[in-house]
């Protein structure tokens, strides 16, 4: 089968590999129907060193597929079922999973190798989410459904952890797919003032369609000043930080209101940052967020997609096949594509 392997920064190759097998009886193997390239895949695409990964990394953690094989301990599914898999798999029965935190599942881990014709899903019974029978390979809803694997679920997690509701003002930092879908999530949860901070007009225009009421292209202190202008000088109740770089964290501190929340879903590319009296403590700021347990949100987010109310799949602006994945990386890295869909 064709699979995409990353060997170093900028070096993604399509290779011929054996179709994966059921290794543990809790596994399933899917024939991939839709996958995609994630903004977080761009971190290794920019920084990976070949000597750290001599055998390369099988890329891709977002997938919709048809069940091809299942281990003996996977029940409740049939061969041929079309399923979504969350980027963080888990058993869905451990104490953390029961609390909706599959990213901390005691049998959990992160999906890999989805940018390929077939993929192995560990902890398949707990992880896979079966789609309704009427959805098939030709459904126009597939791109939106695929966002439940990661980016829409991640944007939604940011908003949920930030306690967004009809009484909160919101600033979303970042106009990537997660940022735009954090806007959609904030609107779904009732926020009436949603400030999108991003400077790529075609993206922020989509953000406006998703529910952003204001767009701020400025960054740093200028960006903070604009947020305060829009909020009686106070700042917003909730910042959804969808970037993961330290300047975005620092801007969050400037933009958030006393007593407010900074909810991060952009994977931090830093370990230490300001948390003392001057930054968080003195104003009773709450810092929250983390990797999104997207499996836990699928039931909740599915109906809006099925009935056409919401179209998170609009974040995909380029489609490639498995051979086109290296080019897809190039396009996303150069910001020529917002998010690249991968279909057979």
């Amino acid at each position: 089968m064709k699979a995409n392997i990353m060997y170093a920064a900028g070096d993604v190759r399509v290779e011929e590999l054996p179709v994966p097998k059921v290794q543990l009886q809790t596994d399933a193997v899917l024939k991939v129907v839709a996958s995609c390239i994630c903004g977080s895949d761009l971190h290794p695409y920019r920084s990976m060193h070949s000597h750290d990964h001599p055998e390369g990394e099988a890329m891709g953690h977002e997938v919709i597929g048809r069940i091809e094989k299942m281990g003996s301990e996977v029940s409740g599914f049939e061969k041929g079922d079309l399923v979504i898999v969350p980027f963080a798999f888990g058993d869905n029965t451990c104490p953390y999973c029961q609390e909706g935190l599959m990213t901390s599942c005691v049998h959990g881990g992160f999906m890999t190798g989805c940018q390929a014709e077939y993929v192995r899903v560990p902890q398949a019974q707990g992880s896979m989410f079966k789609l309704p029978k009427e959805i098939d390979e030709n459904s126009p809803l597939l791109p939106s459904l695929l966002t439940l694997s990661d980016v829409y679920g991640t944007g939604y997690h940011a908003a949920v952890m930030g306690s967004v509701n009809e009484n909160t003002t919101v600033a979303v930092i970042g106009d990537g797919a997660v940022g735009l879908l954090a806007v959609m999530a904030a609107k779904k949860l009732g926020a009436e003032k949603i400030i999108l901070m991003g400077r790529h007009k075609e993206r922020t225009d989509l953000g406006i369609e998703f529910g952003a009421t204001h767009v701020i292209p400025e960054r740093g202190e200028e960006g903070v000043a604009k947020v305060r202008e829009l909020t009686n000088g106070e700042g917003v109740h909730v910042v959804l930080e969808c970037v993961g770089l330290k300047p975005a964290y620092e801007m969050s501190i400037g933009a958030v209101r006393a007593g407010g929340v900074i909810s991060r879903v952009g994977v931090p590319q830093y370990e230490e940052a300001a948390v003392g009296f001057e930054s968080l403590f003195g104003r009773n700021i709450t810092l929250t967020g983390g990797p999104a347990p997207t499996r836990a949100y699928m039931e909740e987010l599915l109906p809006d997609i099925l009935d056409g109310t919401l179209e998170p799949g609009r974040v995909f602006d380029v489609t490639v096949d498995f051979d086109g994945v290296p080019e897809g990386y190039r396009l996303m890295n150069n910001r020529e594509a917002l998010k690249v869909l991968v279909k057979p």
Copy 2:
């Protein structure tokens, strides 16, 4: 009048000063009935440089007093009323105060000069909390009532911000007055497993009387291991960090469960700390807390004290008069006293 002024580390002097006057029409002046020395007063007592404060600092931010004078804009009180003042004063009408966050009041600030015979209270109408008529200078409840000014309200704030309830396990870091009263607060909010981390036996014994179910004297990795032993290896749902030093923050990260909360009320003596994937983000840890808006909790916490159910005033183990304040600092700094009450 007698007042206690700090000039440098270890240098607190009793001086004769004029009785303060009403400076703004929103002020009141109180005759001090009870004041005390705070753990946070020990920070300057250990580190203050005389050249930074050539005129000295009027010490003390916790007080119960009788109203002596009021400005024309203070209503709802009479001369002679006995009132508690929160360590952070405010107008109690601004948007932040209405949300219960007086520490961010637009007219707010921090009390000073309470370790004196008289004290000026800014924003008196919003800040002062009138005690019932049956309470007077001789009431045995005065020490407990005085803790509503800061330490009990601060411990309670930690527990509230940490969302402590009957389903959460709790670890309290620190066996000072705030830590012990955070134990009391956690129990009041229903927590059934309350682990007190402290190594001064006479203090942790009081913590057990306040509701601690376990005591861990170990610190650092050893302390974390003990917490995990008591929690199925998972850590606690909520850490109440009542110290403010970086090792306590780091121990909080080790002791908290995935998806849990670190709630800080110990004033951080650091600005930068770990917040990235390895510390907070990867396990969806929430970091919250800050200076406690103790005025907002007074109504709620008063009844338990009036009816004798709770005795937070047991944290006071030494009483001095105004002349005895310098000695009180010495005792607290040497850990010969847990908390020093100041009475005329």
